[in-house]
């Protein structure tokens, strides 16, 4: 069987269809897709757009480690893509597709991958709204420029 893992950090719009095709296999009866999309509001602000930046080689390595752990724990096939650069409201920034024999494992593997990604993978978003911008660092808003603006 082909490798059960597909992991990519890319600069172009995301499409779940090829990831679903990658994950599907005759023995996999459940395929769960998670799409994280740019929300139009955050912390009381009307979001105009997000700009994603990454420590790309480390992000790819950490994504691969997460996928390996998911395969180990749930015997799944899994595809994860994260997009970088400017994203408009409604666009997907991250996709996770997990395929397992049964749906319980597929949901768990997908949930594990997206939750762990958001703890560990070095990717940040700069949130821009009318009149301001911040880096989102965990629970904090952090200044973008050197003078604290």
């Amino acid at each position: 069987m082909s490798s059960p893992i597909l992991v990519q950090v890319i600069d172009t719009p995301l499409d779940p269809a090829p990831l679903v095709r990658f994950a599907e296999a005759p023995e996999m009866g459940a395929v769960v897709t998670f799409s994280g999309n740019v929300r139009n509001h955050n912390r009381g602000r009307q979001v105009e757009y997000l700009e994603y930046d990454a420590y790309r080689p480390m992000a790819e390595r950490q994504l691969h480690a997460i996928a390996e752990e998911a395969v180990e724990r749930w015997n799944c096939r899994i595809a994860i893509q994260h997009r970088l650069g400017r994203l408009e409201v409604g666009e997907p920034s991250v996709l996770v597709v997990a395929a397992c024999a049964h749906r319980g494992d597929a949901f768990e593997a997908c949930r594990f991958a997206i939750d762990t990604l958001k703890e560990r993978v070095p990717i940040w978003k700069r949130e821009v709204w009318e009149g301001g911008e911040v880096w989102i660092e965990g629970e904090r808003d952090a200044p973008v420029s050197a003078d604290g603006s």
């Binding site: 930046d53 420590y55 070095p122 940040w124 660092e137 965990g138 973008v144 420029s145 050197a146």
Partner: protein, 88 residues
Amino acid sequence: MHVRVELFGRTSSQTGERSVDLEVAPGATLRDVAKALVLRHPVLDWILAVCRPARNLEYARWSDLAAEGDEISFIPPVSGGCPLEEVG
């Protein structure tokens, strides 16, 4: 010895750089590398309190030794919203 520090996100936007080459003494720890980076770019004085260090693409500890040619970075909390971990 020579190390390269990779910058991204806030560390990049505040300095205008994507990487910084530094000379540090043999036996330097990742904390020493961070201090050398802050000497070069004082605007990054927050990294020791906020970041987790990484060495050659894996998370590491501040007390870990750097080695010649290492690729080092200081990782702020990522955007997913996890609480700050122990950074000592």
